[in-house]
């Protein structure tokens, strides 16, 4: 079956809405519940980085289109 590799590469990234949301800022104080928690190791594979880049651009794209629609 003739499928464009770009189509497969784009759809197989599997970007979810959580990828596009900003992560809540964690408190750094001693009493903060997150203060002592070890930071999660972020995936640093090329595919994960690409997913992050795409999510960021998509978010910016959404802001552009939302601004136009409203």
């Amino acid at each position: 079956m003739d499928i464009n590799p770009a189509y497969s590469a784009y759809t197989n990234l599997g970007i979810t809405d959580t990828d596009m949301k900003d992560k809540p800022k964690k408190g750094m104080g001693l009493l903060s519940p997150m203060g002592m928690a070890k930071p999660k190791e972020e995936l640093n594979e090329p595919r994960d980085r690409v997913r992050q880049y795409v999510a960021r651009i998509r978010k910016a794209r959404k802001q552009v289109t939302d601004g136009r629609n409203s």
Binding site: M1, N4, A6, Y10, R49, V50, V54, R61
Partner: protein, 171 residues
């Protein structure tokens, strides 16, 4: 069209493509950009540069899918030895998204190329229309042929499957 012997001699010799010295082609050399980030640093400034930007928008308006545009961009870069196919495949989603951003920013309706893949079992309307056209072209000719042909005796009765049940009536 008749072929002249001269034209036949102009064809490449089988295996000619493999006669080039190893390393003489750009893609046989180490790539210029080895990581996705390096490749994107090459692509993104070019996408928004003045000379490319306008032609990109024109292509989008023409309805060329962004996936096709991204694929051809990275294939060309691979052929130029800028990066490997692997890096190109990884960079493609970012290029597509960037192209979509450019299209959105310019307020152009573009085709992302993410339509449902063609269902092989379903015959497209264009194929049906093409078949109808061919049939229409062929039909008058077939009718003429039929008029010329002598009448054939009626075909023998086709064997109809006999009912096999116990209570079935035999014909």
């Amino acid at each position: 069209m008749a072929e002249t012997p001269r034209e036949k001699l102009d064809y490449p010799i089988p295996g000619q493509g493999m006669t080039a010295e190893v390393g003489s082609r750009p893609w046989q050399n180490p790539p210029q950009y080895t990581t996705v980030e390096q490749a994107l640093e090459f692509y993104i400034p070019r996408l928004v540069s003045d000379d490319v930007y306008e032609s990109l928008l024109d292509s989008m308006e023409l309805g060329i899918p962004l996936t096709i545009m991204a694929d051809s961009m990275q294939s060309t870069a691979v052929m130029q030895g800028l990066h490997t196919i692997d890096v190109g495949i990884l960079a493609m989603p970012v290029i597509i998204e960037m192209l979509a951003y450019i299209g959105d920013d310019a307020g152009i309706e573009y085709n992302l190329g993410m339509d449902k893949p063609i269902d092989e079992d379903k015959i497209s309307d264009t194929k049906i229309a093409l078949a109808m056209k061919r049939m229409r072209e062929k039909l008058p000719q077939e009718l003429d042929d039929r008029e010329e042909m002598p009448e054939e005796p009626e075909a023998m009765e086709e064997d109809t499957p006999q009912p096999s049940g116990l209570m079935a009536r035999r014909v």
